[in-house]
Each structure stands twice: as C-alpha cells, then as structure tokens.
C-alpha cells in the first residue's frame, strides 16, 4: 500500500504527466474552440491521426521537426475546413459529418503512410524532439524534472492554453466566437457573421487537433503506426465537457487525466500480474464517461451548440 502511495513521490511520475497530457491538451483546446463557436467536431480522432502521420512524414522526408508541426497543423486545418464547409453553410448533421471525417482522415493517413513506407519488419523512425535543458531550472529537485525537462511541443501546448484563455475572455474576437456559440442570431444582429466565425473557429481548432496528433509521432514515439491515437480524441471531447468549455480548466483537466494514466502505468509494475493490465488501460475511458455524467446537467453548454445557423430564420 505504501508503495502505491510512493509513486506520487517519484520524480518520473510528474514528468510523465505533462508528457502524456500534451496531446490531450491540444485536442481538448481544439475541440473546445470549435464547440465554443457552436460546432461539435467529431472528426477529432481522425484529424489527430492524420496530424500524427503527416507530421512524421514531413520529418521523414527531410523536414525539420518544426516543419513537421506546421505540416500537422495545416493538415488538421484542411480537414477542419472540409468539416466546416459541410456543417456550417450547408448545415449537415454535425454528428455524422464528424464521424465521416474521422473515418476519412484516419484511412487517408494509413493509405498515404503505406504508400510512402512499404510494409517492413520494424517501421522506420525519426529523431524526435528532445527535452529542453534549462540552465539551472532543470536541475531543481522535483520541479526540475516535471516542468523544466519537457520537449518544445509541451510548452507550446501550455502556451496555447493560456493564449486561448486570454483570447476567448478578453478580446473582441473571443467575444464574437462566444456570442456565435450562444446566440448566432444576436451576433448577426450586432454585425458579426456567424458563418465566417464558425468556419474560422473550426479550422483553427482542427489545426490544434492536428498538432496534438503530431506530438505522438514527433515527441512521444518516433514512428507512426495505425490506431496509435487510441481514442484520445474521444477522451478530449469528454474533457471539454469536464472543463466546462474553459481553456484553463481544460489544461487542468488534461493534466488530471494524464495523472491517472501515468499513475496506472506505474501501479502496474508494482501490482504485477495479479491484475490484468487491460483493466488499468481501461481507466482513462471509464473516467471519461464518469466525467461526462458528473458534469451532465451542471455544465454551461454553449446554447447554440449543434444548432445549424440559417440566415433569416428566427
């Protein structure tokens, strides 16, 4: 029992937490941005997959790691544009469109990957992001390995969280996005074009999702393999609800989640074969469902979420 608690004291745990949280942070922020404008983007799982693939591919073909990130963001934005065009001006079902995008983006990822990298024994690897070494800070006892020994994308994720929080809360653009998600007719009556705002938000949000996927191949692992996203996209969707659609809480929620995940990995080594490892792996998904139920009637949903906006119809 004390061993179980000791895990919390280990330096490795907290460092792993931020690492595991990074794709979740990106994904949740991306989904949050779309939903704040009123669009549910269920293409997230596929977009993250594609981001993982294209980012890796860009580096594999000789680009820099930062170029890989850019490629992932652009790839995500592309699928975001497709989703937005179908759901906003045309007003097609956001549920089914999103699922279609997930299927399309995932399968396209595997297709392109297989095209460039034929089947072989071990998949090829690239040189991933290395943890950044800060002069004195990295050597601090617990804080050092946690906060000051991460790769660049992780810092980017935290930066985006803070940036998005600021934009949504304190800028006219953020207000326009929020108003579009709450009452697009009111937004229009006050001179904002809800269609353009929604399209923009979905494209930007999908770019973030793509970045989240690319962390998996450019930092966490160094190769791409099918189904590597493992449902993180859906967890992110649940986390958006859990975070009450606020970026700051999304950051904390993702970290909390990652804590459970990192913890269960280490707990496995202690408990050994007594408990099947699959039970531990189930925890994130089960927790997501619990989080959804817990926040169900309490969360302040953007009022116009999932309602297509048609001009002139009141």
């Amino acid at each position: 029992m004390s061993e179980a608690l000791d895990i919390f004291a280990s330096a490795g745990l907290w460092g792993a937490v931020l690492r595991i949280a990074t794709p979740l942070i990106f994904g949740t922020l991306g989904a949050l941005l779309c939903e704040r404008a009123g669009v549910l983007n269920l293409g997230i799982e596929g977009i993250m997959t594609f981001g993982a693939m294209i980012g890796w591919l860009a580096v594999f073909q000789g680009g820099s790691l930062w170029f890989g990130l850019l490629a992932a963001a652009l790839g995500g934005a592309m699928f975001g544009l497709l989703h937005a065009l179908m759901t906003v001006p045309l007003g097609l079902s956001q549920h089914v469109t999103g699922l279609g995008i997930t299927l399309f983006a995932s399968s396209l990822s595997y297709f392109v990957f297989r095209l460039v990298v034929p089947v072989q024994g071990t998949p090829p690897t690239i040189e991933p992001f290395q943890p950044i070494d800060f002069p004195i800070l990295s050597d601090l006892p617990l804080l050092g390995s946690t906060l000051f020994n991460q790769t660049a994308p992780t810092y980017l994720a935290i930066l985006f969280a803070l940036l998005l929080a600021y934009i949504l809360a304190r800028t006219p653009l953020g207000l326009a996005i929020r108003m579009t998600g709450e009452n697009p007719h009111a937004a229009e009556a006050q001179g904002i074009d809800p269609i353009k705002v929604r399209i923009g938000a979905v494209v930007a949000g999908s770019a973030l999702m793509g970045l989240g996927g690319s962390f998996l191949t450019l930092s966490a692992f160094n190769s791409f393999f099918p189904t590597m996203v493992q449902g993180r996209g859906w967890v992110a969707i649940a986390l958006v609800v859990f975070a009450s659609w606020r970026p700051g809480r999304a950051l904390l929620g993702a970290i909390l989640f990652a804590l459970f995940d990192a913890y269960q990995l280490r707990l496995q080594t202690i408990i050994g074969n007594a408990v099947p490892y699959q039970l531990f792996l189930m925890i994130p998904y089960v927790l997501s469902i619990v989080a959804l139920v817990a926040m169900a009637r309490r969360a302040r949903v953007p009022q116009a979420l999932m309602q297509p906006y048609r001009r002139g119809e009141r």
Binding site: L90, F104, L292
Partner: protein
C-alpha cells in the same frame, strides 16, 4: 430581404423520388472518382484498378464467396446503426456490441458452456450474442435518458473499453491453451458452427440470417405500431409526444433492436467464420456499419445493397493491392468518402441552389 449574395439555399417543396433513389449511386460514383485520384497518385492505372477490384471481388468462386462472407456482418451492423439512427439514437458503439456478442457466444458455445442439442444451440447462441449487445447499448442510453449525456461519446468510449475487455478475456479466463501465436479464445464446439452455404469456402448460412434480419426489420419498421412510433420519435419528437408516443420506452426498444443486431453480428461471425474470438475479429465492421446505414438512407433493404458495396470494396482492394501495389487502405478511404458524399447528395435532395 437579406444582403446581396451570390447564391441562396432554397428548400425544395418535395423530394424528387428520382434523386432520392439515385443519391447513393451518385455518392458512390463521386467517391470512386475521388479515390481514383489517390490511385493515380499511387502511380497505378485508375481504370485498371477499378477493374481489378471488381474481378478480385467477384471474378472467381472463391472471390465471390469471400465477398459475400464479408457482407454478412456488414448487413447486420448496418441494420443496427440504421435502426438506431432512424430514431435519432446515435449508436456509434456497434463495434463494441459486436465484440461482446462474439465473446458471449464463444463463452457459452464452448465446451464449458451451454449444454444444448445441436439444433437448439445455434439459435440460443444467437440470442445470447444479441442480449450481450443489448446490455452494452442500454448503459449509454440510460445515461442519456437519466442524465442527458450525449450517447455519441459514451458509445465510442465503450468501444475501447470492450476491446480491452476482450483482450483481457482471451488472455485470461477464456484463453485457448492449445493455440500458438496470437491469443485467441477457446473455440466453440462443432455443433455451434454454422453450416456452409458453399462447399470449400468461408461462406456460411449467416448470410441468410442477415438477409432475413433485414426483411424482419423492414417489416417491423413499415408494418408495426412500434415501427411507426419509433419513426415518429425520430422525425418529430414533440409531435410524437403530443400523439401519446411514450418516448423513453420507445427509445429503449429501439436500443434493444440496435444493440441486439450488432451483438448478433458478432455471434454469427464467431459461429460462421473462425469459431473463436480474437482481437482482430472485426476489421472495423461497427464503423463501416455507419457508412452502410447512411448509404442506404437508413432503409433496411438498402442496407443489404450498401453492405455488398462495402464488402466488394474491401475484398476487391486486397486483390487489386497485391497486383498493382496500391495500399489496400484505398477501400477504407473510398467507403469513408462515400459517407461524406452521401451526406452532400442527400442535402441536394432537400435544397436547391438559387442565384
């Protein structure tokens, strides 16, 4: 009224029947066309690739039976999704329901399972599989009815939980001690295996069950009180409520049909094809079922045709891939694209563009 815009969307007065029927065909053609671009990018001749897909799917006895074998689970998962979507129950968990149905059938069909005579065992296991699928879908539905939690995400998350559960079972209590290589479950006994439709092929009578299921669903939807009420609940919940349709109870019944069909799909796949459960028993049948359902415009008989299309793509691409070097994922891409093109095609049956 309104600022000057280049184009306006105008709702059609009625849906032209011609368009409604040809919409799936147009959607598929457009999807194939777009895939053609990818095939060309892969450096293969496009028309020849299409030809090879068809030949690989139907060119020989072996090919045709394989395609039909793959059609069977797709019909059932397609029905499962279609039934649910019609009532606006977003069941994306057909994949998970498939696996619990398979697991339940394998568990109770193995030598430690039900001790029933041959002719009773198959129907019993089919029932068991269906029940397992029902139970799995009722949980997310209960969360929706009680707490208002959107079932899209919960059914999706459960898919992952189920897959891990299956892995746990076949590496643990249900492990087959005699199998080498990848873990698999204990096999079902001989009596539980479905007879073949065609000798020396994988095609089993599950196909017949699947088509019968489609007919039954069609009859229920179009002829029964429940079918009418479920349709009403999906089309216009407030009018349904006004007319006295008990919405909650109706949705529960819909979930039973939907989860049951998906679970049945898993049970039949086990009993008909391999005889045991592995973690790759389903190459995404649950998700493909969504595409099948949408291509069929949620019509049970259309599901059979749409399932055949999807199976053709999957089986055909394997052969084409071997011959031309185009990754076989092209099938998944085409099928996914046809979902998107179908949505757009359906849109144009309801709206037209006006200058």
């Amino acid at each position: 009224m309104g600022e000057g815009r280049l184009m306006r969307l105008e709702r059609r007065e009625h849906r032209p029947i011609g368009l409604v029927v040809t919409a799936p065909i147009i959607a598929i053609l457009v999807a194939l066309g777009l895939s053609g671009i990818l095939i060309a990018l892969a450096g293969a001749p496009v028309l020849e690739a299409y030809q090879r897909i068809l030949i690989s799917a139907f060119g020989s006895r072996l090919a045709a039976t394989e395609t039909l074998t793959r059609t069977t689970p797709l019909i059932l998962t397609g029905l499962a999704v279609a039934v649910a979507f019609r009532a606006r129950v977003w069941n994306i968990g057909a994949e998970g329901q498939f696996y619990v149905g398979a697991l339940a059938a394998a568990a109770l069909g193995s030598q430690h399972g039900l001790a029933l005579p041959g002719y009773a065992l198959v129907p019993a296991l089919m029932l068991v599989g269906a029940v397992a699928g029902i139970v799995l879908l009722l949980l997310p539905l209960a969360l929706r009815l009680r707490f208002g939690v959107d079932e899209v995400v919960t059914t999706l998350l459960l898919n992952f939980v189920v897959l891990l559960f299956v892995s746990m079972m076949i590496e643990g209590p249900m492990k087959d001690p005699l199998a080498f290589g990848w873990p698999q479950s204990v096999p079902v006994i001989g009596d539980a295996l479905l007879p073949k439709l065609v000798e020396r092929s994988r095609l089993h009578i599950g196909l017949v069950f699947a088509v019968i299921a489609a007919l039954i669903v069609f009859i229920v939807q179009s002829r029964t009180v429940f079918g009418m009420e479920a349709r009403a609940a999906g089309l216009n919940p407030s009018a349904a409520r006004f007319a006295g349709v008990p919405l909650g109870a109706t949705l529960v019944k819909v979930a039973c049909w939907s989860g049951g069909l998906a679970g049945l799909a898993g049970a039949i796949e086990v009993m008909g094809v391999k005889g045991y459960v592995t973690t790759d028993l389903s190459p995404g049948y649950g998700y493909a079922g969504i595409v099948v359902a949408m291509l069929a415009n949620l019509h049970p008989l259309g599901v059979v045709a749409a399932a055949l299309f999807a199976a053709t793509m999957f089986v055909g691409s394997d052969g084409m891939s071997r011959a031309l070097g185009v990754p076989s994922f092209i099938a998944d891409v085409t099928v996914a694209l046809s979902l998107l093109t179908m949505l757009v095609a359906l849109f144009f049956t309801t709206y037209r563009i006006r200058r």
